[in-house]
Amino acid sequence: MKLPLRAGGKGAPRKKVLWLHIGHYKTGTTALQVFLAQNRKALLRAGLDYPEQGQAHSKHSLLAFALYRAAGVETLMHGYARPETPEEVWDALFDALRASPAPAGLVSSEEFMRLGAHPAAARRLAAIVARGLPGLAELPSGVWRAAGVSLAVSLASTALLLVLALPMAAALTRARRGWIDLVGLLGLATSPLVIGTGLFVILNPVADPFALALPVTAAVNALMALPFALRILVPASRETVNRHGRLALSLGMQGAPFARLVWLRRLRPQIGFAAGLGAALSMGDLGVIALFAAPDVATLPLEMYRLMGAYRMEAAAGAALLLLGLAMALFWLFDRGGRMHVEP
């Protein structure tokens, strides 16, 4: 049985299909259900979600039991006696599917067979389905979760960028040419996918690359932004040292006091600009994450890409707008923060 979860709105209707496998008893259902549950990740990559929500013993009988109990049926398998209403159980399922990257879901239980014998339970399900539909038209909750992930990745990447770029800029202020310049250029000369693939190959034997998807994305993004950050920081650093170096030396300020009291403060506008650029670059990057991400992990660009792959164009457009807004907001905040209250 197939329930087309149709969403309203303009243009072509966007669908997420929820399949109900309803039996019959004694037709190999358990073997099928165990197979589906054990291959959940592979199915998800193929676009079919066999959700954990409502699942017990590899099957989704809880969804049926809740309906029967509400309809007054007393003989239920495994002594089912959970307090949830059918609405709560099914809404939880709909939420899970809404958040899922897959365009289709499948729930399986031979207990659904008995809907034919209990019209009250069937009517309850029909009412629930009719009520749950409009919610699917809104921006999927997966988009918001992905936005949170992207924000965290972007901020971590920006922090790493500054940790790398500031000491390198300080070193480059003294040494005009040398190996540090080349390290900085490494990011510019290669694509994020190449660096990402390299990291994948290196990490694969020692760690699960999928578990490291987000840290690796943040690290590669920081590396990509490094040459730009150095181009921004180094000229300002040279200017600061030329202009204030002698006075600082005559006052015995070399080292940490100079960095803290003069260098960082004079470079604040450039640091803000570089951080803003790094944050925006990382926010919008769809490189490494596409290689590394497990099906249940997504940054906002990847989520947008997956929505497009599932022909959910309006949701993808919404995600794109959110992405643009977040990238611009991050850039503005860092850049503006760096330029506030700056003396000539």
Partner: protein, 230 residues
């Protein structure tokens, strides 16, 4: 006493030779044609230029290879004597501790120094909020708290008007008198030298000559100085 024993200073290929001594507490003007090496001499004493021959001694201690901050020297440059992003009080406080972690007593010292140079109550301002003369006074307040026995001036008041410049030089002379500091100041102006300097070091043709009393030297200048004075 500051001694330069058989010193050769390297300033990017230009060499300045100096073999001279400046007595403690003296106020010495460094005079000579443009490009003769006046700033080179002062910067070598401050530790910004390498001495490739000879020794620099302060009270018999060899400071030839000490860093600028480790020398008994306070210096005012032609410009950039204050950090524009720090307050006046912070700029002065740097003379006490380069990391600016001042205790209450040190903050009081800063306030006293500001009051001494006529900037009472202006410690919270940024340099850009002060006039040119006030900025010079703030830099002098820092020199005061530094308490270094050797004060080097590389024409820090050149951008001020004549009256203000004289006022600043008088203040410098006063402060040097109060602290007993030895003063070495680059100057273009013989009048300025007569006003506050007891002695003059003539720098000409790659050579810094030993100090001579100001009056007699300026009244009867040697050939090199005469050409410059016109």
């Amino acid at each position: 006493m500051l001694s330069l024993e058989g010193v050769t200073v390297d300033n990017g290929g230009f060499h300045l030779r100096a073999d001279l001594a400046v007595p403690k507490g003296a106020r010495v003007a460094v005079i000579g044609p443009s490009g003769a090496g006046k700033s080179t001499l002062v910067e070598a004493v401050a530790g910004f230029l390498p001495v490739i021959e000879g020794r620099v001694l302060w009270r018999g201690r060899d400071i030839t290879h000490d860093g600028p901050g480790a020398r008994p020297v306070a210096m005012l440059f032609q410009d950039g004597n204050l950090f524009p992003h720090l307050t006046v009080a912070e700029n002065v406080g740097l003379g006490l501790r380069p990391d600016l972690r001042l205790d209450a007593a040190q903050r009081k010292t800063v306030a006293r120094a500001l009051a001494r140079v006529g900037l009472e109550g202006l410690g919270a301002r940024r340099p850009a909020q002060l006039s040119g003369g006030q900025q010079s006074r703030a830099a002098l307040a820092r020199v005061l708290v530094q308490g270094r026995p050797l004060l080097l001036l590389d024409e820090p008041f050149a951008a001020l008007g004549p009256a203000l410049k004289s006022e600043m030089l008088d203040l410098v002379a006063e402060l040097a008198g109060e602290t007993g500091a030895t003063l070495l100041m680059v100057s273009h102006d013989p009048g300025e030298a007569r006003r506050i300097a007891s002695d003059v070091i003539l720098v000409a043709e790659g050579q810094a000559h030993p100090p001579e009393p100001t009056g007699p030297l300026l009244d009867d200048p040697p050939e090199a100085l005469r050409a410059y004075l016109g």
